[in-house]
Symmetry: D2
Subunit: 133 residues, 4 copies
């Protein structure tokens, strides 16, 4: 499991003082980016030096509790890989309260529109390591 803290900022909040949904999605995507950096295969390195990536094919999230500016939100990401795809499962807590949860489904695919390919072993091992923790 990968974990980071997201501080909700004033500029993320709406007239009710709670986080706008698009800003929550920004934080989610930032978390996937931080995770791929952590395991040594940042998205930008794939984009520049490899001929494949992990485009998003599905996202499904439930929002259980509103978030407020200043909240220190603990977002966890647990990868669940199959042969040619990986699911990033998320949970986000403000204190003990589940704020939102859900997943991103990503396929391993050739850059430029080719079909799905097998996840290279080095990356797959990292996904499995973080899946087990």
């Amino acid at each position: 499991m990968f974990e980071r803290i997201w501080t909700v900022r004033f500029s993320d909040t709406d007239p009710h003082g709670i986080a706008h949904y698009p800003r929550i999605v920004d934080a989610l995507h930032e978390t996937s980016d931080m995770f791929m950096q952590e395991i040594g295969f940042p998205f930008w390195e794939l984009a520049q030096n490899r001929d494949f990536g992990f485009p998003l094919v599905e996202m499904d999230f439930e929002f259980d509790a509103p978030l407020h500016a200043g909240d220190e939100v603990r977002i966890t990401l647990t990868p669940d890989p199959s042969t040619r795809a990986v699911r990033f499962e998320y949970e986000a807590y403000a204190g003990d309260t589940l704020a939102f949860s859900g997943y991103e489904q990503r396929v391993c695919a050739r850059t430029g529109g080719g079909g799905a390919i097998e996840i290279p072993d080095g990356i797959r091992e990292q996904f499995l390591d973080y899946a087990e923790e």
Copy 2:
């Protein structure tokens, strides 16, 4: 059905020249905002003058084809109301190609954390009108 055209901008695109996912979500949320304005109950008017709103409780989207800067994306929104909630169903096309589809589930709830309430008749009628078209 409500419909708008979203032009993908250079500032929405990534190193592969395709739209970043968070920017697609921005366009989705903008579409819900435009729809509520169209039916005479803009989100900002609810936030200022009413004691209820339509917070998002779930979002579920599938991404079928990448979008490029300059694409004129036709995004449709079809509301599907129940008594205390409404589902906004989306489809987005670049030309004849389905780029993404999915839904936002929103509840009608008292502002500030109260429980779900019945959708007021005037709004419900608008939802039904756009559901049938």
Copy 3:
């Protein structure tokens, strides 16, 4: 002069009900993108098919009045070209009230870090046409 209407959205607004500054900057940059599309040289076309672009080297804006969700903001862009650079001058009005004004200074430069080059005649002529109107 180029002109567009920007509708301030609920998702642009803060706990005081006024537009967050980063969202105003999003609208500014969208306006430059719309202008370049209007004159037939969209930023994305330059990025894909030409070996030069117009990177931003300076931005200077004054904010005179707050903007609220639902405001229909008239943003004007007047290009002021020199040989190797162009200044995009902006004014934004909500009704008769000046909300903000300022400029972006952009140079015409080879992609990938080369120095400034002369603005190609076809683009320069378009800038001059919109400067005079």
Copy 4:
């Protein structure tokens, strides 16, 4: 002087692989938010519990070098307060290279449109502490 590290993310970058300007502005504003939190007067606390804030009245930035995904950008903020206003001066470095610099001018003003007021002593002292370091 206040300092933070901003990691440029894949989702911040454009078809040339460099950071979009609106995303740099997001990082700037986030830095002001982090600074106000650091000194004990976060923007959200002012918005909720006080009758004044620090609205932006001017921003002026120069961009000297492009930023790439993965860059660890050191952004410094030095406050320069006067009686009723404060200038936040920024410098941003990727390694030893100045990437951008500039300032935000903010006034201390009553919430809801009142005129400028004197910066309360407790906040002014914090600004001065960080100005001298």
